[in-house]
Amino acid sequence: MSKTPNIPSDPVEFDDMQGLIRFGHGALVEAEFILCTVKDPVAAGDWLRAAPVTSAKTLDSPPDTALQVAFTAAGLSVFGLSDNATSGFAQPFLSGMAGEDSRSRRLGDTGQNAPENWLWDGAKAHLLVMLYARKGGLADWKQEVLNSDFTAAFTQAHSFPTRPNEGVEPFGFRDGISEPKVDWKNTHPPSKHGREDYSNLISPGEVILGHRNEYNARSGSPLLDASVPGRDALAQAPGVPELRDLGRNGSYLVFRQLAQDVPGFWRYMDAASEGDPTRRDALAAKMVGRERDGTPLISGRRDIEGSPRSNDFTYEDDVNGVSCPLGAHIRRANPRTGDHPHQLEGRIGWLLSTLGFRRRRDKLPGRHDLVASTRFHRLVRRGRVYGPKLTPEDSVKNDAKTEERGLLFICLCADLVRQFEFVQNAWIASPKFNGLTGEADPLLGGRTPVSGVASDGFSIQKADGIEERHTPLPQFVTLKGGGYFFLPGLRALQFIARHGR
């Protein structure tokens, strides 16, 4: 048959994987992230080698602290990795989140969100140190990890303290509800994940490099030939014994600091609903797609593979957006579509659908098959919030202070372009998402025209066919900085640490 080998379902090595990939460290409510540059590569290597980096192994009891480290492309070269070692990394990682104007354009990082307005640019730093601890434990853990060896080796370029948030993001909505479930056992090929309908299961190769992904292929990973010294510390590349796999069990980490104007957000809702608190909450819920407590605006439940009961819904029952607006945040961030747009009836139905002959059904706005195959565009989110808490009720008061607060958005994926950049470009920032026009994500949108088209509107579909339109929306979220990082496997981490010598 074809020359594409069937990807064996090799077991996932949790002991070679950083813990963050498998766990959100939810019990470790305190966290701080530190962006560093390397002063002394040799000392930095020594510190890294001894650093108590947390693995994804299951322990008898959950740990009290955790440490994860991730590198920028510049960081890898500071540790002495030459181009022939790093050229296998993804182009966006090598070039950086702000590396090209075209990338900024695609991500909607224009206007206020443009890199020239950022407080920090990940690509200019080398290492991201992520510290997690239980309540009250962070100060000690910081002292232990950021010891004198660390100080001798690194300069702190930027530090990101966080706030324990009990799962609620700064606008006051329950967050982190929709997470894809990684099929870690990897015993089923992706086709068994129920691909025709929406499924919440994704293959390990969507998160970690060198494993089977949703296309039943191995996710792209930098492979090293014999010219790279010290490479024997790495795992053999599967199927190519003469190469070593630098990316194996590692992941790409996307980090964006999203400043949230909480008073601005609630004051807009308040003004738009003439000060009526119930309508204010309802309008905000329409923008998010959920009530503040996380209840989705879609009430019908469906059986979804790999999804908790409370999150078991698709938009199939709300094709015209009357319950949950077509452009609501959760509908953009995860459209919950399967590979085929319609409920399929047998092989003939499948064939007709594949040939595009079932468009009579597409007359309803939400059903024209513009957004399909969500499973290729999932992200594992690991964000934390920062800045003082402000409730919606306090936000609308006149003395509410505009302070620095927001979300440290962090997500993990194996393909930056197909996953993070696609979601950000085609779903979040696009003014043409799902057949809409003139609006981007109501929460995250930068409000500047995208590809020459206005993006500052928001429309709420109504049962009577008359849209309720909110234009122009002010900007609620501003990007303050960002970067692409590589979160290596633990063997790879040791390899990088030793490489400088």
Partner: protein, 433 residues
């Protein structure tokens, strides 16, 4: 239905003039690749029958790949391509082009071999025009004028609907419809809105279309016994090829991807331009010819009302054989970023891509012509990106409009001219405004 036509003028660039030509092309743009509709050389915006057009330099990047198939690689000269899609016929458009911008065209084409001040440019363009093997039009017969008129109608109705609802509420959709119809009648009478009725299809056109429609099934039916006999041999031969054809899929250079990116996403629609070699030998050439014939036939008779199978984001697409079927050009105009475009294709019509593109040198290996291939997302993207060329000048007559927008605007007009049946359908129609 208004007949539509294409043009594609391809000529070798004169020795040593490529750089100069590139900066000349650059002078026609507002942003990298995005044409200034009023540029001094070819003011595209003045031609109200022109949908899309582009100039690009054809650099053969992958010409050496054929070596892996045991063939002596031959370099191709650098060429300049000028192509577009028009309402009406090509000859009329080219003539009009000559009337309005003969000097500008001469300035551009004087960088090509064999063109000097004495050249009869119209004749030269006709001589260098290459007919397509397959052509896809999102919505056949929809004219540039119609697109603009319907966009203006939709925008006006959008505002008027708000007025009507403010004044009378939204309880009675029939009343709203009636008021909107009245409004449009007034606006048309005062010359603010125009809704040109679609051109009638003549009996001759209808007949020609009908003959064209049944000819293929008829011929297939007639030769089906032969086809059936040949099938086993065809399949065996095909599988032999598929097993032995080498894949040539290096990762495209990062700098090239970054350079292509400079030209992308200045409008909601992007151009895609690519050249690739056909696998050597008559067998693959035959499949490619048949596949493109099939694409062309289905684009004429089946798809052409907004969908190319499940894909709805393509405005125009074209496949052209060149150099005695040694090469194929593929050009399209699609909505969204190039990654979304490729994903859309891989996820929805990998089989269709395989049917056509698997006859290209280096393509990811297929099984039975439709399986495998583009289903291998990463490999397919490499194949495509390695063959993609920057489009130095690209023009679209209706910036900011996606294919979906235009379809919606047409649906709005249709519902205005013929009231949707029943309250529910009427509400659905209102929701589009």
């Amino acid at each position: 239905m208004t007949q539509q036509d294409t043009f594609f003028i391809l000529a070798p660039v004169a020795e040593g003039r490529a750089e100069e030509l590139e900066s000349l092309l650059h002078s026609m743009t507002l942003k990298p690749g995005l044409a200034d509709p009023e540029n001094a050389l070819v003011p595209f915006g003045r031609f109200d029958q022109l949908h899309v057009a582009r100039f690009f330099l054809v650099e053969a990047n992958t010409w050496r790949d054929i070596e892996a198939y045991g063939q002596e690689p031959q370099p191709y000269p650098m060429q300049l391509a000028f192509l577009g899609d028009v309402d009406g016929d090509r000859q009329t458009f080219l003539k009009e082009l000559m009337v309005h911008c003969a000097d500008g065209l001469m300035e551009v084409f004087s960088h090509c071999e064999g063109v000097d001040q004495g050249t009869d440019l119209l004749r030269w363009m006709e001589d260098h025009n290459v007919r397509e093997s397959a052509n896809y039009i999102n919505t056949r017969g929809r004219t540039v004028r119609q697109v603009h008129e319907e966009a203006a109608l939709a925008a006006a109705l959008h505002d008027e609907l708000a007025n009507v609802v403010n004044a009378r509420g939204s309880a009675d959709p029939f009343e709203i419809h009636k008021r909107l119809v009245d409004y449009v009648r007034r606006e048309r009478a005062s010359g603010v809105l125009h809704l040109t009725p679609p051109a009638r299809t003549t009996l001759r056109e209808r007949l020609a279309n009908w003959i064209d429609l049944i000819s293929l099934p008829l011929i297939l039916l007639m030769i089906s016994p032969l086809l059936l006999l040949a099938l086993p041999f065809f399949v065996i031969r095909l599988r032999m090829h598929e097993r032995s054809d080498p894949e040539i899929l290096p990762r495209p250079a990062d700098a090239r991807i970054a350079d292509l990116g400079r030209y992308e996403d200045h409008d909601v629609t992007n151009p895609f331009s690519a050249f690739g070699d056909v696998k050597p030998g008559p067998f693959r050439r035959m499949i490619a010819t048949a596949a493109l014939y099939l694409v062309n036939y289905s684009a004429r008779h089946i798809f052409g009302r907004g969908y190319l199978t499940r894909v709805q984001t393509i405005h125009f697409a074209r496949w052209v054989f060149l150099d005695g079927k040694r090469r194929v050009m593929f050009c399209s105009n699609y909505d969204g970023a190039v990654e979304s475009y490729m994903d859309d294709f891989v996820n929805k019509v990998a089989w269709g891509l395989n049917l056509v593109f698997s006859n290209g040198v280096g393509y990811p290996s297929t099984r039975f012509l439709i399986k495998g291939g583009a289903e291998q997302e990463d490999k397919f993207k490499r194949y495509l990106r390695n063959r993609q060329l920057p489009t130095q000048v690209w023009y679209k007559a209706y910036p900011g409009l996606t294919a979906r927008d235009m379809a919606r605007n047409s649906e709005i007009r249709k519902g205005l001219e013929k009231r949707p049946n029943g309250a529910k359908a009427l509400r659905n129609w209102l929701s589009k405004i």
